[in-house]
């Protein structure tokens, strides 16, 4: 037998395994609370949203709520929210990637990684009123950093056009929880880049740039994009931080929904539901993209 035939016989991929027997019901008990929570706090509210979006104030069926989504102030709310989500997803993504790179492949001391990951774990969950207050206390008109810059360096941020209560101020505030989230998500992906890939590339004549362009970045791209999509979703759904910081001055979708559902002047629950439904569609699209990208990178990296 030739060696070629030998390989053909001996190197067949493992045959597909027989379908496993169904698990006994008690094996599902552990994840029972998850399904219960998902049913009570995701499925039921979504169903309620979906139904409410097609009802008017009297409970009758209507498509007017969806038609109202094209009103200029609603379109503007979506547009501002998408812009702020994009800016903070890309900005936080790049910043977080650079930091994660520094502590994984950048040769920094191990304690820097420990410190960064601890900080990221805390900061990625630090949002809402406390975060808004922290930024007002530091970068508000009379914030500590603002005053130090003004008194010590003669730089008055607010005279230069900066305002914490503007689009860019809010974006800066969002970055505080966006880049740590990126650090947490992308660090394992960077750890997954095997040293042998770099060495193999160098051994074949590649420079560091060629290695990153042809190997590392294509491998990381699904993870980077996936992580940025998560950041986008994270910013898109943020409510308390923006409301606390700007008091509704910036027309975000979440703030408008809040006004429609519980506001005195703009009260229109049906429109609020329709807007929330629109958010669900956008978030679901983001999650689907994230899933597809993650599946692609996982397939490549299958052991």
């Amino acid at each position: 037998m030739s060696s070629k035939q030998n390989f053909a016989v001996n190197e067949k991929r493992d045959a597909p395994q027989a379908r496993p027997a169904p698990l006994p019901w008690r094996h599902w008990l552990g994840v029972g609370p998850f399904f219960l929570f998902a049913f009570l706090f995701i499925f039921l509210p979504s169903l309620s949203l979906f139904i409410g979006a097609f009802q008017d104030a009297s409970g009758a069926f209507t498509l007017k709520n969806f038609a109202d989504l094209s009103r200029p102030e609603i379109v503007d709310a979506y547009w501002v929210t998408i812009r702020i989500s994009l800016v903070t997803a890309v900005g936080g993504g790049l910043l977080g990637f650079a930091m994660a790179y520094g502590v994984t492949l950048g040769g920094l001391p191990a304690w820097v990684r420990t410190a960064l990951s601890t900080f990221s774990g805390v900061a990625s969950n630090f949002a809402g009123v406390p975060l808004a207050f922290a930024f007002i206390a530091t970068l508000g008109r009379t914030g500590m950093v603002t005053l130090i810059l003004k008194l010590v360096f003669g730089l008055n941020l607010y005279d230069k056009g900066f305002s914490l209560y503007s689009f860019w101020g809010l974006s800066l505030t969002y970055l505080y929880f966006q880049f740590p989230l990126m650090v947490l998500i992308i660090t394992p992906a960077l750890d997954g880049l095997r040293r042998e890939w770099r060495e193999a590339a160098e051994n074949l004549g590649a420079t560091s740039w060629t290695y990153w362009r042809r190997v590392a970045l294509p491998i990381l791209t699904p993870s980077i994009l996936g992580a940025m999509i998560l950041l986008f979703g994270n910013a898109f759904g943020a409510y308390a931080t923006a409301l606390s910081l700007t008091g509704g001055f910036i027309n975000l979708v979440t703030i408008v929904i809040g006004s429609q559902i519980k506001g005195d002047i703009l009260h229109n629950v049906g429109l609020g539901y329709a807007m929330a439904f629109g958010m669900v569609i956008i978030m679901a699209t983001m999650m689907t993209l994230y899933y597809l990208l993650r599946r692609r990178s996982e397939r490549w990296l299958r052991p």
């Binding site: 991929r13 193999a200 051994n203 397939r299």
Partner: protein, 349 residues
């Protein structure tokens, strides 16, 4: 002049010597294996040849060119890694052609070379598959083709078969040797598997604790080990305490039974000299002109081609390997037997 020359190469990691004063000349087209246990410095030496580690001292000449401090991407040395290290985002064809693309070869040259390499490793039909769609053996052959595609001056293989199962390992071993001989490429192979090293190599370098213990052909390494480490690491070895040593008469007592040896084969003797005999030197029965020992069979292990006995002689236990033959009945456990070995087959250490 040798094609690859390592002169007084040493490598220290934080004051700890990984490799010390390593000297080696490799001829063009030669297949040399570094053999040794984990941590003996064989991979570090290979990585210094590849340029992934810089020597603490010494020089590396490749085709008369000093490459000691050259970057890995300027050496034109091909390397195959234990873990394949195929780029997961590229197809088989793209992996093989990677080095040529980096060199900015034109597409026609790349395609021709990729096709040639695929033919060499018998994977023509897998060109468009991704690494995850291949078996371990197939991935390692692609890694070999990728390393060869750039027509390297030296091919380095770092335990390339360790991650594969036994049968594939043997087959791929033969493939590597066939391809190496067909291309006449100078090859350095790192392994801790003595069978691999002995079966593949023109010469074997046995290493221990960062030092070169012995360099020689597989025949020399196995049959004429220069140090006790080599004798024990390469193949099986019985080391049996002796008494009544008479160097003039070239005799000693092994568990009270007289044994004759050839002193010129002996190594530098330790304070408590021992007799060294390989298990396969034993034969059942009392053979004329041989040393004969009487003992009791403690265990019998059937290993396929070999039947391994553990024999007790006056309180000493040793292994004896008998070639399996269908028409003989191996001794039974507890049986008293006589067992012989030639005078020239043992030495003192």
């Amino acid at each position: 002049m040798a094609f690859l020359t390592l002169t007084d190469i040493s490598k220290y990691f934080g004051g700890v010597a990984a490799v010390e004063r390593f000297n080696l000349d490799v001829e063009k087209g030669e297949f040399v294996s570094f053999l040794g246990p984990s941590g003996c410095g064989k991979t570090t030496t290979l990585r210094m040849i590849a340029g992934f580690e810089l020597p603490s001292s010494g020089t590396i000449l490749l085709d008369s060119e000093d490459v000691t401090y050259k970057a890995p991407n300027q050496r034109n040395v091909g390397m195959v890694f234990q873990s394949y290290a195929l780029f997961p985002n590229l197809t088989v064809g793209q992996n093989i052609g990677f080095g040529l693309q980096v060199r900015k070869e034109n597409e026609a040259v790349i395609k021709a070379r990729v096709d040639e390499m695929l033919g060499l490793i018998h994977l023509e039909q897998h060109q468009n598959k991704y690494p995850y769609q291949l078996s371990g053996g197939q991935q390692q052959r692609v890694a070999l083709a990728r390393a060869l595609a750039i027509q390297p001056r030296v091919l380095l293989l770092d335990e390339p078969l360790s991650a594969l199962d036994a049968k594939i390992r043997v087959e791929l071993r033969l493939e590597i040797r066939r391809i190496q001989q067909a291309l006449g490429i100078t090859t350095v192979y790192v392994t801790h598997d003595q069978e691999e090293a002995l079966s593949l190599s023109d010469r074997v370098v046995v290493m221990s604790q960062g030092r070169m213990e012995q360099v020689g052909t597989p025949f020399e390494i196995y049959n004429y080990p220069r140090t006790q480490f080599v004798a024990q690491f390469v193949g099986q070895l019985n080391l049996l305490p002796i008494t009544g040593l008479d160097l003039a008469a070239e005799t000693c007592l092994l568990a009270g039974q007289t044994v004759q040896f050839e002193h010129h084969q002996s190594r530098q003797l330790s304070e408590a000299p021992r007799l060294a005999i390989r298990p396969e030197e034993f034969r059942l029965g009392a053979l004329e002109g041989c040393n004969v020992l009487s003992g009791r069979v403690e265990t019998v292990m059937f290993l396929g081609a070999v039947v391994r006995l553990r024999v007790e002689v006056g309180g000493l236990l040793f292994s004896a390997d008998l070639f399996n033959e269908r028409n003989i009945t191996p001794p039974r456990v507890g049986e008293q037997i006589e067992i012989s070995f030639p005078v020239h087959a043992c030495w003192l250490t």
